[in-house]
Amino acid sequence: MRRLSVAMDGATDAALSAHLLRSDGQEDLCFAMWRPSTGLTRTTALVQDPILPIPGERQVHGNASFNPEYVLRAAREAGQAGKGLAFAHSHPAGSGWQVLNSGDALAESRIANVARELTGLPLIGLTLAGDGAWSARLWSGAGRAVRPLGCESVRVVGDGFRITFDDSLLPVPGIAATQIRTVHTWGERTQAMIARLSVAVAGAGSVGMAIVDTLARTGIRRLGVLDFDTVELVNIDRLRGASVLDAYVMRPKTHVARRLLEEGSTAAQPSHELHELSICESDGLRRLLDFDLVFSCVDRPWPRHVLNTIAFADLIPVVEGGLSAFQNPDRSLRNGYWSSTVVRPGRPCLVCLGQYDPALVQVERDGSLDDPSYIENMPTDAPLRRRENVAALSAMVTAALLQQFVAFVARPSGFGDPGPLRFSLRDHTIERVATVCDPECPYAASRGVGDARLDPSARHLRAEEARKHRAHLPLQAGIVRVLDDVVRGLQRFIGRLAG
């Protein structure tokens, strides 16, 4: 069965909350619209565009009730906009995830058929508790057979990340002995939230691999890693967990990531998804849409474009960073910069931040960036020609990304992510980047469009070639790989005996 979830941006949450959480403490209700975002195993309803009642359309009397005219107006407006209908009401005295009671279920079931008939999409029911926690369900079926299907989570992507979970679908994990120091730092509630997030890491290079290791040790249960590449000798100086042997037997980077996850995870029942895919491939993109948050550990324009697209279109926040180092004429280090941000509605997109050139996406897509003669034609200072990377500098980018992540999800003292930051190695300064999106920015304008986004995925020849190349391992290397698998299997077995 498909997993279901709901997401909304901070502006939608603020508008709905302002209406539903009344100063007189009474319940209230309203409608909104939603659009689907379809991943491989999860559908997310992207709630947007509140349709607030006009006088006479609903009555407040401790509880709240609505007139049929309000339902019809809201459903027609949603249908005309090509969107689904969501019905929201409040439980001002409640806190946390609200279980659907029989009265609310009856009211929503009466709207469900009208919503489906006038919009072509099922009704989404939402409940807002007094502490700002959302709960949600999707009304499936038709006629008398309508029934609510539970959504596993509702996330609000605003100034800081808020998410509520249905504990019956995603139970609060117990605190393991290996997590005690972590829990002492930010408390059980934050740990219960972070541990249940589903987080993907796009790109298992020097930064990505360190992020994977850190997230596993933090106790995040559901982690995904997407990378199509193979470990090579040139990676060994900075790729955590990788060895010369991995390069010799042409291990995919996701294999090394799996080892790190297995060795480092503190979650009780971890669920690790390792995919030898580029996020630019259709399958990779659909898998990415199954996650609540993504770390961008990629360095090329096309994958950055994919992530920039889903951060706005699918309300999946992307923690992104980059490194640039500059040399003096004698090739000594002049300065290094690393930048970090959370890409999401309300923050600048990666194009407006200058993190990649959109004109180069198509250049990468048609294979030109993998053509040495094409690269030779580029200016010597073009970012795509520069190959600088040092383990210590990668570690700094990793730290900058994790700083953004912790600020965004743990929200120390209620503060969320700081916005785009830029660090200067020579000057030892941190600069807040004040960039905002261009008024015409197509990414910012695509907020919440979900499946109606312009599809950024396509065939990825480099990924296909990498997988094909690994499939033709020389005989001697193949034997060494089998022996390595046996030795590592024994190590795991001994580890289990000890644990």
Partner: protein, 114 residues
Amino acid sequence: MNGLERFVADLSVLGRECERRNGLAVVTLDVERPDLVGPLQVGADPPNEFPNLPPHWLHAPRQLVIPGGKPHPSELGPDWLKWSRTHPNWKGGANGARLWLAHARSLVLTATKV
């Protein structure tokens, strides 16, 4: 609407003659150059995500040499060559066709004729 269809429609709105040929858009430019008499046609390959993303190649008649790197064979035939000349500051959005037109015109103006 997006991609090639959107590119052709947007250029038509701007009063440009634009036709589809071999999966590309062929646009007629009016370039004020004494050595190029009459309207000049150039080709573009708008991606599916135009106007979020710009076309990559500029296809031009073989007699034009556009500075800044070597050409490649064009899908428009032997009388054409394609040049990798990306837009230097693409912002996308509603003005995509206008931005590309200005870019194409500036490339043609700096080209030499052989």
